[in-house]
């Protein structure tokens, strides 16, 4: 068996409402992310957000995605199309095949 530290989980991550600009202007990403964080705990959505900042973000303006260590106000996180508040927010542990969607709240009209 491989070292648990090298194991990965396959998930999809989507950006919408303009956030895709921060991630090479791609709305849909198929990713293999580490199954554990640095401390050996199962990877959760909080871990994923930091991981995306470090590995997937192509725009230097990280504060448009994460602010004060948290998801920037005005961004919703949806876990398999449900508001993450219906799950355990950033403590939700990633499962293979999960879809994580980040959308920016719109105000124009």
């Amino acid at each position: 068996m491989s070292d648990p530290k090298d194991q990965t989980i396959d998930i999809t991550v989507d950006f919408s409402g303009g956030l895709e600009i921060l991630f090479s202007n791609e709305k849909h990403h198929e990713l293999s992310v580490p199954a554990q964080d640095a401390e050996g705990k199962p990877a959760n959505v909080g871990f994923l957000i930091n991981y995306l900042c470090k590995t997937l973000m192509t725009d230097p303006r990280a504060d448009l995605f994460v602010l004060g260590g948290e998801l920037r106000p005005g961004i919703l996180c949806l876990i398999n199309d449900s508001d993450w508040e219906l799950e355990e927010e950033d403590a939700y542990v990633l499962q293979p095949g999960d879809n994580i969607l980040f959308i920016s709240t719109l105000h124009g009209g």
Binding site: G18, D59, D83, H107, G108, G109
Partner: protein
């Protein structure tokens, strides 16, 4: 005034027959529409198409709120105005168009922007509110007043190639009530905090495609008409079986480089009324009152951080 059993006039039958024969409509539902009062806040890219179908369906009283005048740069998407009415107040321009479409409804022009001072007076006279505005401070204000006055709210927004629509506070539930829920969310339940000012982009600054905002506006009219026709805004009677509360945020992602596909529309499941919500949650009656709003509490401009730095080109 709200006569729910009168016969329809010959002109009403002629105008509304094609929708009255749709299964689930009928005379009773049409009379509900004829007796209903709808307030459309914003006469722009959302409000124009929404108003066309609200008026066409025969909603009896239609109020329109907007303080702007028609500009030439509006006309690619604000299809209720016209070149000859550039410079006119948008509300009057739109009502001119609506009267031509359907002269039967009563149209009420509110040629001013909605503010904490006038919001309750504007909203109190109507059965259902459409939020067709263009900035976060106004969106939080409208939702708060709808919670306080027990009005259902159909809220949509759109910038560039994206759109969002959600029905809020429907059926309206007394402020602070959580027992016996889940109850429908308000705008703050879904969108707790606005983005920082540098991440708020308007259609004027960031651009907008006509059909994107247009589709959201038409969808708003669709939700409003069903709510009023089927009485979905009337809280269930004691013992009546309650429809499950399944708040849905519809996301519209238009792509300029690919045809409609599986991700064009996504229905996102939102949480119901939250215990922690400032406006409708536990103890909210102490935090949010009609008098407070008029006095400037909460301070919507401050909350939404207007003027807090340069914009950075991301929504």
């Amino acid at each position: 005034q709200r006569d729910t059993s009168r016969p329809l006039t010959e002109e009403e039958l002629d105008r509304y027959s094609r929708q009255m024969i749709v299964p689930g409509m009928g005379k009773e539902a049409q009379l509900r529409l004829l007796n209903a009062k709808v307030l459309i806040i914003g006469a722009g890219g959302l409000g124009c198409p929404a108003a066309q179908y609200i008026a066409g369906a025969g909603i009896g009283t239609i109020g329109v709120v907007d303080g702007d005048v028609v500009e030439r740069s509006n006309l690619h998407r604000q299809v209720g105005h016209s070149t000859s009415r550039i410079g006119q107040p948008k509300v009057l321009s739109l009502i001119t168009h609506l009267k031509e479409l359907n002269p039967l409804p009563t149209y009420i022009a509110h040629t001013e922007h909605i503010t904490p001072l006038n919001a309750a007076d504007l909203i109190s006279g109507y059965d259902l509110i459409l939020d067709c505005t263009d900035n976060p401070a106004t969106r939080y204000l409208i939702s708060d007043i709808c919670v306080l006055l027990c009005k259902p709210l159909v809220s949509a927004a759109s910038v560039q190639t994206s759109g969002q629509i959600i029905v809020l506070n429907c059926p309206p539930t007394p402020q602070g009530l959580l027992e016996g829920g889940p109850y429908p969310p308000c705008y703050r339940c879904c969108f707790k905090k606005p983005p920082p000012a540098n991440a708020q982009l308007s259609c004027g600054e960031a651009g907008i495609l006509g059909p994107v905002v247009g589709l959201m506006g038409v969808a708003q009219a669709g939700e409003a008409i069903k709510i009023l026709a089927s009485n979905l805004h009337i809280p269930p009677a004691e013992g009546e079986e309650r429809r499950p509360v399944e708040p849905t945020l519809l996301l519209y992602s238009y792509s300029l480089t690919s045809l409609m596909g599986p991700f064009t529309f996504r229905a996102l499941k939102m949480a119901p009324r939250k215990k922690s919500c400032f406006a409708c949650g536990e103890g909210s009656q102490e935090r949010l009152t009609l008098e407070g709003v008029k006095r400037g509490e909460p301070n919507y401009e401050f909350f939404c951080g207007l003027g807090a730095g340069p914009k950075q080109g991301v929504l």
